[in-house]
C-alpha cells in the first residue's frame, strides 16, 4: 500500500528537521505512541498501540533513519511487531523544501502488513494508516 | 482479575468467580458446562453462540460474563419444557432444519426471538433476520421452512 502526500508547515526547514529528530515531539504526534526513544543517531525504538478494525495490538517498532541529508531529506525504514496480531513494516522518504517562507514536507511511504492484521483487518489498514498520518500532521505544526 | 457474577441461567441462579475478561460464551461452556452454545467464529459473524439475555437474542461471544451480572439467560438447553420440545425445536426436527447441528442452537434461539417480535414473519423477513447466523450445511431452505412452521406453532400454542 502506498501513502503519499505533502504538508505546508509554517516554520523554517532547519526547525522542521530538528523536530523530526526530536523523539518527544514525535511521540506526541503519533496516535497511540506510548514510548519513543532514540538509541543512536540513526535508530529509534517505539511502542505504539494501534487498532486495525477488530485487531488491537501493541507494536514494538524499530525505525532506522537512512540517507540523511540534513535538513533536506531522509529515509525511514521501520518494522513493528504486534505479537500474534501480526506485523507492519514499511519505508518512507521524507523531503523538506523551502517554500513560501516556510517548509513544504513531502512524504512517500509504502507499507505492508502481515499475519492477523492482514487476514482480518486488510480492508481497514489504509484507513487506519491514513488516519494516523493525518493526525500526525495536524499535531506536528502545533508543537513547533 | 477475578470478579463475581450472579445470573439466572435456564431458571437457576448461578454464582461464580471468573476472570474479568471471561466472555459469556466461555462462562456458559466452560464454567457451567452448558456446551449446547457453540463458537463458530472470532469476529461475531456466525451466530452459533446466540442465547437469550433478558428475553432477547444475544451473541454470547460479544458480551462479557460480568456485563450479564443479574441477567436472565436462556440457552438452548433451557428451551424445551422438560421432555417436550419447544415448538421451534419441534419445527426444526419435522422440517429437517439441521444437518450437522452445529449452527442449530444459535439458529433456534435466533428464530424464537424473531417470532417473539414478529409472530408471522414472511420468507423474506426470516431470511433477513438470519443475516447474523451462518449455516454451511442446509442451504437455509429447510431452516426457513422450519421457522415458518415454528412461528405458526408458536402462534397457535399461544392463546394471547
Amino acid at each position: 500500500m502506498d501513502i503519499s502526500g505533502e504538508q505546508q508547515i509554517d516554520a523554517p526547514r532547519e526547525r522542521v528537521w530538528e523536530a523530526l529528530n526530536d523523539p518527544e515531539i514525535l511521540r506526541q504526534c503519533i496516535t497511540g505512541c506510548e514510548s519513543l526513544e532514540k538509541i543512536s543517531d540513526d535508530e529509534m525504538k517505539a511502542e505504539v498501540l494501534a487498532k486495525f478494525g477488530p485487531v488491537k495490538a501493541k507494536f514494538k517498532a524499530k525505525i532506522s533513519i537512512e540517507d540523511q541529508i540534513p535538513p533536506a531529506s531522509c529515509r525511514l525504514v521501520g518494522e513493528g511487531q504486534g505479537g500474534v496480531a501480526g506485523f507492519a513494516k514499511g519505508a518512507a522518504v521524507i523531503t523538506l523544501h523551502e517554500s513560501d517562507g516556510g517548509t513544504r514536507l513531502e512524504y512517500k511511504a509504502d507499507m505492508q502488513v502481515g499475519g492477523k492484521i492482514a487476514q482480518i483487518g486488510s480492508r481497514l489498514v489504509s484507513g487506519t494508516t491514513n488516519k494516523i498520518v493525518g493526525e500526525f500532521f495536524e499535531k506536528f505544526p502545533t508543537l513547533l | 482479575m477475578s470478579v463475581s457474577v450472579v445470573m439466572t441461567v435456564n431458571g437457576e441462579v448461578v454464582a461464580k468467580h471468573v476472570e474479568d475478561r471471561t466472555l459469556l460464551v466461555e462462562f456458559l461452556r466452560e464454567h457451567l458446562r452448558l456446551t449446547g452454545t457453540h463458537v463458530g467464529c472470532d469476529t461475531s459473524q456466525c451466530g452459533a453462540c446466540v442465547v437469550h439475555a433478558n428475553g432477547k437474542s444475544l451473541k454470547s461471544c460479544t458480551a462479557l460474563a460480568v456485563q450479564m451480572d443479574g441477567a436472565e439467560i436462556t440457552t438452548i438447553e433451557g428451551l424445551a419444557n422438560g421432555d417436550v420440545l419447544h415448538p421451534m425445536q419441534e419445527a426444526f426436527r419435522q422440517n429437517h432444519g439441521l444437518q450437522c447441528g452445529f449452527c442449530t442452537p444459535g439458529m433456534v434461539m435466533s428464530a424464537v426471538d424473531l417470532v417473539n417480535e414478529n409472530p408471522d414473519p414472511s420468507e423474506t423477513e426470516i431470511r433477513e433476520w438470519l443475516e447474523g447466523n451462518i449455516c454451511r450445511c442446509t442451504g437455509y431452505h429447510n431452516i426457513v421452512k422450519s421457522i415458518s412452521a415454528g412461528a405458526k406453532a408458536m402462534r397457535e400454542g399461544d392463546p394471547t
Binding site: 487476514q119 | 457453540h38 438447553e77 450437522c100 452445529f102 442451504g139
Partner: protein, 790 residues
C-alpha cells in the same frame, strides 16, 4: 415388518436431531478430560521465511505455562504423509517434499505451525504464545502458480527440483490434436476455478490422551474418518501400533472434505499428551482455521471443444494448473487428476478427450478435496465450454446438449470410466418442465420492463461417487483401500447395533442406516442403533467422503445383514425341524415355505445366544456378522440444474430468482435427507459462483480474505428456496441401486449460475466471466459496455 413407515423410501425424521436441538450433541470441543492442558499454536506470519531461532524462554517463565514445543521435539517422528501418489507423463513419480509436523527451519505459508505452547488454560496458552520469540528472515514468496513455475522462481522446498509437483496426462493426445485440427468449429475458453475455504461451522479440535500404565493413546478429533487417521498417524507419523491407538470422532459439525485429512495438530496433541502425561486439547479458532484447514479448488484451465457442422462433439482438450499449496495434503494429488479429468466426458459422447494437469507448489495453505473434489471443476469447464459453443454456433444450448447425450449404458468414456446407468434426457426433460424453460423469454421481457436483466442457465452434470475398486485405485496411486466395512451385532433380545466404518457429520447416517436395516430385517426401527466414529468400536473402515456412505457403507451393511439372515435361516431350520433350503425370511419372520410354521427374528436371536436347542456341532452360537464391501465401479449420479437470475444493471447485483434441480441419485432411502443434501450443496455451489473467493496478496503471500468479514459466506438472504426433483435409474452394481447425493449441488450449481449470468448479460457481449461474479465485476462490464456504446 413391524413398522412400515420407517423403511426404505420414507422421509423419516432424523433421530440425531433430538440431541442436537437440545444442545446435547457431543462435539470434540464439548469434551474436557480430567487434568487437561491446552495447546496454542504459534504460526508463521510470513508466507515464506527462514526460521533463525525460536526462543520460548519468556513464555516458559509465565505462570501456568507447562511446555513450549518446537520442531526438535518432533524430530523422532515422520512428517505428515500424503495418501495418493501421481506419476508424471514419463512415468516418474511426483515430487513429494517433506511435510514436517512443525516447520523445520523454513516456514512455507502464513499459518505454517512453528511452535506450540501448552498451558493450564486456553487464555494462558494464548498469552504465552505471544511471548514466543521467533526470529525470521523473510524469503521471496511464490503466491501464484505462474510465479511458482517461472524459470527464475526458487523451489520452495529444498528437496524438489522446482515448484512443479507433477505433470500428468490422461487420454489420447494425438487423436485429440487431430480432431481439433480438422474440426468445423473449436470453442476455446480460459477459466479459473476460484480457490475456496471449506468453512465447516465447527472449527477443528483435537484432544490427545495417554495412559502411561497401559501405553494406550486416545485421540479425540474432528474427523470424517477416524480409522484413516489412526492408520496414517499411527503407522506413518508417530509409529504407534494400531492396537495402542484409539481415534474417536464424536459428533462432527460439518466436514465437506476438510476433515478427511490427517493434520499436524492431531500428531501434536498426541505427542504432547505422552510427553506431559496429561491430556492436551487444541481448538482452532476461525481465524486459525482460515490459515490451517485445507482449502479447495484453485485451478487455472484452458479448455477446447471441437464440433462438427451439426454440433456433434468431436474432441475435448484440457490443460490445467492445479495449486497444491505449500505441501501435499492427504489426498491432494488425486483431486485434479483421477477425480477430475476422468469426468471430462460429462453427460456427452465426446469420442476423444485429452487432459494434462500440472500441479504446483506455492507459499499458500494446502489445497485438497472440498465438496465435489475435482468434479465441480470438471463439470464447470465442460458446461461452460458447451454453453459457449452453443452461443458461438447459434444452436440452442439445450438442444446441443441433448444431441450429444450418452444414450445407451453401460458407456465407456475416453477418460477411463464406465458409466453403468443413467437417463440424461429424463432429468433434462423434468427440469425443462419444472423450470418452465419454454416460458422464459416472456419472463425476460417482463423483467426488462422493470429495468432488470434476466438470464437463464442450465448445467447437465455427472459425477462419480464412491471411488473404487481398490485394486484399480491402487494401480492409479491410492495408498489405501477404498472399501467400507460394517458389523451387524444382533443382541440377545433382538435389538441391533450397526457398527459402521462410515462417519456422519451431518448426513444423518444414524437414521438412514437404521431405515435400511429395519427394512431388510423387517424389525422395529427403534430397536436399531448405529455406532460410528470410534476405532475401538467399529470395524476398520474408510469413513465418509466423496458421497460414498450409502453406496459403499450402506452396501457393506446390507451384505452383513444378508449374512445374518443366512445364519438365522440355519437356526430357524433347526428349530422348525425343516430343511434350510425351505426357510424363507420375510418381514422379520423365518418361515417354512408354504406353511404357517415360523419363528420371529427375536426368537432366533435369543436362541443364538442361549443355545440350548441349537445345532452346536455345525454352527457357532451368537449372531454377529461383518462384511467388507469393495465396489466394482464408481456410481454415477447425474442431473440437470436450471438457474434464473436477475441482474440490477445499476448495481451489478445478481439475484437468483429461481433454481430448479433434477437429479438421478438412483434409489433413495430417505427423500427428506436427500433433498437437504441437495440444498446444502447448491448453496455451496452458488457461494462459489457469486460470493466466495480466497484472496492472497500476490506480493507478500498474506491471506487477505481470512475472516467472515472478508470471505463472503452465503447467508440466508443471498439465496432462494429451491425446487428439487429426482428421477431414478438404479445403479447396476450395488444391491441397493443407490448412487450418492452429497456433492451434486456443489458440482452442478456453479456452471448453471454462471451460464445464467452470461445469458443475462447477452446484450453486453460477454463471453466469459470468472467466479465469483461479484457485483463489482458485473457492474464494470455493464459500465464499460455502456461507455463504449455512448
Amino acid at each position: 415388518m413391524t413398522d412400515n413407515n420407517r423403511g426404505i423410501g420414507e422421509a423419516v425424521v432424523r433421530r440425531e436431531d433430538s440431541r442436537f436441538l437440545q444442545g446435547r450433541g457431543q462435539y470434540t470441543d464439548d469434551m474436557n478430560l480430567a487434568g487437561q492442558l491446552f495447546a496454542c499454536i504459534v504460526r508463521s506470519q510470513h508466507a515464506h521465511a527462514t526460521i533463525n531461532s525460536i526462543d520460548g524462554s519468556a513464555a516458559m517463565a509465565m505462570d501456568g505455562v507447562v511446555s513450549v514445543l518446537t520442531h526438535e521435539d518432533f524430530a523422532a517422528y515422520g512428517g505428515v504423509p500424503c495418501g495418493w501418489g501421481v506419476n508424471n507423463k514419463d512415468g516418474s513419480p511426483m515430487a513429494e517434499p517433506k511435510h514436517p509436523i512443525l516447520a523445520e527451519g523454513v516456514a512455507r505459508h502464513v499459518g505454517d505451525p512453528v511452535a506450540v505452547v501448552i498451558a493450564e488454560s486456553p487464555i494462558i496458552a494464548r498469552n504465552a504464545a505471544e511471548h514466543v520469540q521467533v526470529s525470521y528472515s523473510e524469503l521471496p514468496a511464490v503466491v501464484s502458480m505462474q510465479q511458482a513455475l517461472d524459470a527464475s522462481a526458487k523451489p520452495i522446498h529444498g528437496d524438489t527440483e522446482s515448484n512443479l509437483c507433477f505433470d500428468w496426462e490422461l487420454g489420447d493426445r494425438e487423436a485429440v490434436d487431430q480432431a481439433i485440427a480438422g474440426a468445423h468449429h473449436v470453442t476455446k475458453l480460459e477459466l479459473i476455478n476460484n480457490r475456496l475455504v471449506p468453512n465447516a461451522m465447527e472449527p477443528r479440535c483435537a484432544i490427545g490422551d495417554y495412559n502411561s500404565a497401559t501405553g494406550d493413546h486416545t485421540l479425540y478429533t474432528t474427523s470424517q474418518n477416524p480409522h484413516v487417521i489412526r492408520l496414517l498417524m499411527g503407522a506413518f507419523v508417530l509409529q504407534i501400533p494400531e492396537h495402542k491407538l484409539r481415534v474417536v470422532s464424536p459428533d462432527v459439525g460439518g466436514g465437506f472434505g476438510s476433515k478427511i485429512y490427517h493434520y499436524a495438530e492431531e500428531a501434536i496433541v498426541t505427542v504432547a499428551a505422552m510427553k506431559l502425561g496429561k491430556p492436551v486439547k487444541w481448538t482452532s479458532d476461525r481465524t486459525e482455521a482460515f490459515i490451517s484447514d485445507a482449502h479447495g479448488r484453485d485451478h487455472i484451465t484452458t479448455v477446447e471443444l471441437a464440433l462438427d457442422r451439426e454440433g456433434n462433439f468431436l474432441a475435448l482438450r484440457e490443460s490445467t494448473h492445479a495449486n497444491m499449496g505449500a505441501y501435499l495434503s492427504t489426498f491432494a494429488p488425486a483431486v485434479p487428476t483421477y477425480l477430475h479429468s476422468t469426468l471430462l466426458a460429462g453427460q456427452y459422447r465426446t469420442p476423444v478427450i485429452y487432459a494434462e494437469v500440472k500441479a504446483v507448489f506455492t507459499n499458500t495453505v494446502v489445497v485438497d478435496a472440498y465438496r465435489g473434489a475435482g468434479r465441480p471443476e470438471a463439470s464447470y469447464l465442460v458446461e461452460r465450454v458447451v454453453e459457449t459453443a452453443a452461443r458461438e454456433m447459434g444452436i440452442d444450448p439445450v438442444e446441443l446438449r441433448r444431441k450429444n447425450f450418452i444414450k445407451s449404458f453401460p458407456h465407456d468414456t475416453p477418460v477411463a470410466l464406465t458409466y453403468d446407468s443413467g437417463d440424461y434426457a429424463a432429468t433434462l426433460d423434468q427440469a425443462m418442465i419444472a423450470s418452465d424453460y419454454a416460458g422464459f423469454e416472456a419472463r425476460r421481457a417482463e423483467a426488462k420492463q422493470r429495468g432488470k436483466l434476466r438470464g437463464i442457465g442450465i448445467a447437465c452434470y455427472v459425477e462419480a461417487c464412491g471411488v473404487a475398486p481398490s485394486n484399480i485405485a491402487g494401480a492409479l496411486g491410492a495408498r489405501a483401500g477404498l472399501y467400507e466395512a460394517a458389523t451387524i451385532r444382533v443382541n440377545p433380545t433382538g435389538s441391533i447395533s450397526v457398527l459402521t466404518g462410515s462417519h456422519s457429520h451431518g448426513q444423518g447416517h444414524e437414521t438412514t442406516f437404521s431405515q435400511l436395516v429395519a427394512d431388510k430385517l423387517g424389525i422395529d426401527y427403534d430397536s436399531i442403533d448405529v455406532v460410528h466414529g470410534d476405532t475401538n468400536r467399529i470395524p476398520f473402515g474408510m469413513g465418509t467422503y466423496g458421497s460414498r456412505s450409502l453406496a459403499v457403507g450402506g452396501t457393506a451393511i446390507v451384505n452383513a445383514v444378508d449374512k445374518i439372515i443366512a445364519k438365522g435361516k440355519k437356526i430357524a431350520a433347526h428349530l422348525l425341524e425343516a430343511s434350510e433350503a425351505d426357510i424363507e425370511f420375510e418381514n422379520g419372520e423365518f418361515r417354512v415355505a408354504g406353511t404357517d410354521k415360523m419363528k420371529p427374528f427375536a426368537e432366533i436371536a435369543l436362541t443364538a445366544y442361549v443355545p440350548h436347542n441349537f445345532p452346536l456341532e455345525e454352527l457357532e452360537p451368537g449372531l454377529e456378522e461383518t462384511a467388507f464391501y469393495d465396489p466394482k465401479n464408481f456410481t454415477f449420479p447425474a442431473g440437470t440444474y436450471v438457474c434464473e437470475v436477475e441482474i440490477d444493471p445499476d448495481t451489478g447485483t445478481t439475484e437468483i430468482v429461481s433454481f430448479h434441480a433434477s437429479d438421478d441419485f438412483g434409489r433413495i432411502i430417505n427423500p427428506m435427507i436427500v433433498e437437504g443434501q441437495v440444498h446444502g450443496g447448491l448453496v455451496q455451489g452458488i457461494g462459489q459462483a457469486l460470493l466466495e473467493g480466497c484472496v492472497y496478496d500476490t506480493d507478500s503471500g498474506q491471506l487477505i480474505s481470512g475472516s467472515y468479514m472478508d470471505y463472503t459466506m452465503p447467508r440466508a438472504d443471498d439465496v432462494p428456496s429451491f425446487s428439487v426433483d429426482t428421477c431414478v435409474t438404479e445403479c447396476t452394481h450395488n444391491p441397493l441401486g443407490v448412487k450418492g447425493c452429497g456433492e451434486a449441488g456443489a458440482i452442478g450449481a456453479p456452471p448453471a449460475v454462471m451460464n445464467a449470468i452470461i445469458d443475462a448479460l447477452s446484450d453486453y457481449n460477454v463471453r466469459h466471466l470468472d467466479m465469483p461474479a461479484t457485483p463489482n465485476k458485473i457492474w464494470s462490464i455493464i459500465h464499460k459496455a455502456s461507455a463504449a456504446a455512448a
